[in-house]
């Protein structure tokens, strides 16, 4: 088994390095094919491991070598394949294989082709490290690694200012969260004396509540960054500057779910601190709604999908926060499939539209791109959670969890959000594929994507459709590791009411979306229509002015403070003091050197003056000694001691 583990882990790295060999040279197909193949290998070995685990095998645990060892600290490169990590491995390898193959076509004409694949495979490797590591430090390696790769990939088209800006934003925001993560790790170490999951979690129950709470909070802060939870969410939308496959892989399927993974992985900890869990859940619910609302009015295809991702992450955190870890993980998996599909579809559309992103400028594309149309529609259906698609099983499960755990507010928020989700996804579909062929105005001649790209996407399609049916098998497997709460609404009646109610609500939302956007009189908005000028629209389309606020009240002040510190504090105060001392000494010299007038009689005067001065001092002293008695008397008369 270890062989497969290493294979799964290091094949992507090999692929990345292979592609890197051609980094500087012009694009060459092999640089794309080999990594894709190696990823497929990694995927296969993950499958082997999965089957091994499914067949009730022990978790595979290897320790490759020591990383850091000093004092009491001992950190190995250790990897573990258990139910949780294998799930993630499957998701990661599968989606990334698909994305790789897809990218061969998508990046076809890009001169950074080779570079792209080396980054992409590097990302997969870091992700694998993240999910397979058996200790917090290893997790952190992957954690930072994926951050680095996402920086590279968001800024892939580095000549675009917006792209590089987004890349840096993403990196720095993640760094803010990583600090929390780091502190969390320190807390774990100094309180449990180790960073190994098993030992640390074993030690935790004996620690006192407060410390655990802090641990939970700080670790979760880390998770918030990667999973773009409020208030660190702005980078995700901007990250859409990267190539679409990247968005599909990193910003939909894998990296952003790392936060969820962390919470799931640390379930023994979070079980001990339900109040933090509740906070996580509430935040998740809030983000779900918050993100969905922003998706409603957005006019950028990819950003819409990004916000839906954000919103779905919210769902996952609700589940994780409420202790339904396996549910969270399940939704994570399902979501990965259909969301990646959605993104890749969007990629096709972009290609067809020559990187046009505004759905209002498209319309009626279904004739031109039949397959893409079908795939995106089905993906959206899955996302909306219509029976029997993947979304239904995973998402409604979360609703049930919320209900069963008696968090009715969260429940209703999520329910409402489900409606919004359906609405905006189908708003998108309708705008792109139905109605007038508005793109004609812009003289674009769309064409369907390469066959092999579509074929590459098909596994995702299939999974998006059928993933739900695996629920029970999955449950069987996962409960070996995670707390096995079955969530059943006790009265069948309520259950059916809820399910059907939800379905109806969702379908209604879809219908409304179609009605509004699929008809022929949709125009390209020009900022004049009434709705665009109403307050809510403005607030939503400006993402609640949060990016603006960050720019105004954080970035700018930081920049200005920096330059003040440099120009005024460092130069004018700290340095000036040093030079000042030197100057004072020097100028004293300049001023007093006239004492050396060179005139002999002045010199003599100095000598005599010196002597006389001393003399007077001597006399004073002498008298003082002689008449010390009297002086004492006098002073005591004055009352001086």
């Amino acid at each position: 088994m270890e062989l497969y583990l290493y294979l799964a882990l290091f094949a992507p790295l090999a692929g990345s390095l292979f592609a890197a060999l051609f980094g500087a040279s012009p694009r060459i197909k092999i640089a794309g094919i080999v990594p894709s193949f190696l990823l497929f290998v990694s995927f296969l070995s993950s499958t082997v491991l999965l089957s091994y685990i499914l067949s009730g095998g022990e978790a595979v645990h290897v320790e490759m070598m020591t990383w850091m060892a000093t004092g009491n600290l001992y950190i190995p490169f250790g990897f573990v394949v258990d139910q949780v990590s294998v799930t993630m491995m499957m998701v990661v390898t599968l989606v990334s294989t698909v994305v790789h193959i897809y990218s061969i076509g998508y990046m076809d004409h890009d001169k950074g082709f080779n570079r792209f694949f080396s980054y992409l495979s590097a990302f997969v490797f870091s992700m694998m490290v993240l999910v397979m590591s058996d200790n917090f430090a290893g997790l952190f390696i992957g954690w930072e690694g994926v951050g680095l790769c996402s920086w590279l990939l968001i800024g892939f088209w580095y000549h675009k200012e917006s792209a590089t800006w987004a890349a840096n934003e993403a990196f720095i925001m993640n760094r803010i969260a990583d600090l929390g993560m780091l502190i969390g790790i320190f807390l774990v170490y100094w309180n449990t004396g180790t960073l190994q999951y098993n030992q640390a979690f074993a030690a935790m129950p004996n620690l006192d509540k407060e410390i655990l709470t802090w641990m939970g909070i700080f670790l979760f802060i880390g998770a918030m960054g990667k999973s773009a939870q409020f208030p660190l969410h702005t980078w995700l939308a901007d990250a859409m500057e990267g190539p679409t496959p990247v968005s599909a892989l990193i910003h939909a399927a894998t990296m952003v779910t790392a936060g969820v993974y962390l919470v799931v992985r640390a379930n023994p900890l979070f079980d001990l601190i339900p109040n933090v869990g509740l906070f996580i859940a509430s935040l998740g619910a809030f983000v779900a709604l918050f993100a969905a609302s922003m998706a409603l009015v957005n006019r950028d295809m990819k950003r819409i999908i990004a916000y839906s991702t954000l919103s779905q992450l919210g769902y996952m955190f609700v589940a994780a926060g409420l202790g339904a870890y396996w549910v969270a993980l399940f939704h994570l998996m399902a979501h990965a499939f259909f969301k990646a599909l959605l993104f890749l579809g969007a990629g096709n559309v972009m290609h067809a539209m020559h990187d046009e992103l505004d759905p209002f400028k498209m319309g009626g594309l279904r004739k031109a791109m039949k397959w893409t149309f079908i795939m995106m529609t089905l993906a959206s259906v899955a996302l909306a959670g219509i029976y029997p698609f993947a979304g239904f099983f995973s998402k409604d499960l979360i609703l049930e969890v919320a209900f069963v755990e008696n968090h009715y507010i969260i429940y209703s928020v999520l329910l409402f959000t489900a409606g919004l989700t359906a609405f905006y996804s189908f708003r998108l579909v309708a705008l792109i594929f139905h109605g007038e062929e508005r793109y004609k105005l812009f003289g674009i001649h769309p064409h369907e994507a390469y066959k092999f790209m579509l074929i590459a996407m098909s596994p995702l399609l299939i999974l998006a459709v059928i993933a739900g049916s695996m629920k029970m098998t999955y449950f069987e497997m996962i409960v070996n590791l995670l707390p096995n709460h079955e969530y059943h609404i006790h009265s069948h009646l309520t259950f059916w009411i809820m399910t059907i109610g939800t379905q109806l609500f969702v379908i209604a939302a879809i219908a409304f979306a179609y009605k509004k956007y699929a008809n022929s009189n949709v125009k390209v908005p020009d900022g004049t229509s009434k709705i665009e000028n109403c307050l809510y629209y403005k607030v939503l389309s400006n993402q609640y002015y949060i990016p603006y606020a960050y720019e105004e009240y954080l970035v700018k002040p930081y920049r200005e403070l920096s330059s003040v510190l440099w120009r005024h504090v460092d130069m004018k105060v700290v340095d000036a003091t040093v030079d000042g001392i030197a100057n004072i000494i020097y100028t004293t010299g300049e001023k007093t050197r006239d004492m050396q007038s060179g005139n002999l009689s002045t010199m003599l005067k100095w000598m005599v003056a010196g002597t006389v001065g001393l003399l007077s001092l001597a006399v004073v002293f002498g008298l003082a000694v002689r008449y010390s008695g009297e002086i004492k008397l006098f002073l005591s008369g004055l009352g001086v001691q």
């Binding site: 050197r593 060179g598 005139n599 009689s601 005599v608």
Partner: protein
């Protein structure tokens, strides 16, 4: 009244003071040398008086040495003075301040 040691000492001190003032005030090199001579001689008076008072000869010996040295000083001093006068045609202190700072 009878002239005691203190009178001599006071006298020598006064002379010394005069000498000092001369040293400070004189701009003329020659007079300056005189002033220094006054200094030394004032001390001689005191030495003589004290040695008489103590009744041992050390003081007077010192005085003789001082006289001798004063003489040689004058020799050297005048030598320098003459050379200076040859070169510059004056013996005024204010003219010898080419080096300063």
């Amino acid at each position: 009244m009878e002239i005691g040691l203190n009178h001599y000492l006071v006298l020598s001190t006064i002379l010394f003071a005069i000498g000092l003032i001369g040293v400070m005030r004189r701009k003329n090199l020659l007079l300056l040398f005189f002033a220094t001579e006054i200094l030394l001689n004032s001390v001689n008076i005191a030495f003589a008086a004290i040695s008489h008072y103590y009744g041992d000869l050390t003081g007077q010996m010192f005085a003789f040495f001082v006289i001798a040295i004063a003489a040689s000083e004058v020799a050297v001093g005048l030598g320098l003075l003459i050379v200076w006068h040859k070169r510059h045609g004056n013996i005024d202190l204010d003219y010898m301040s080419t080096m300063k700072g």
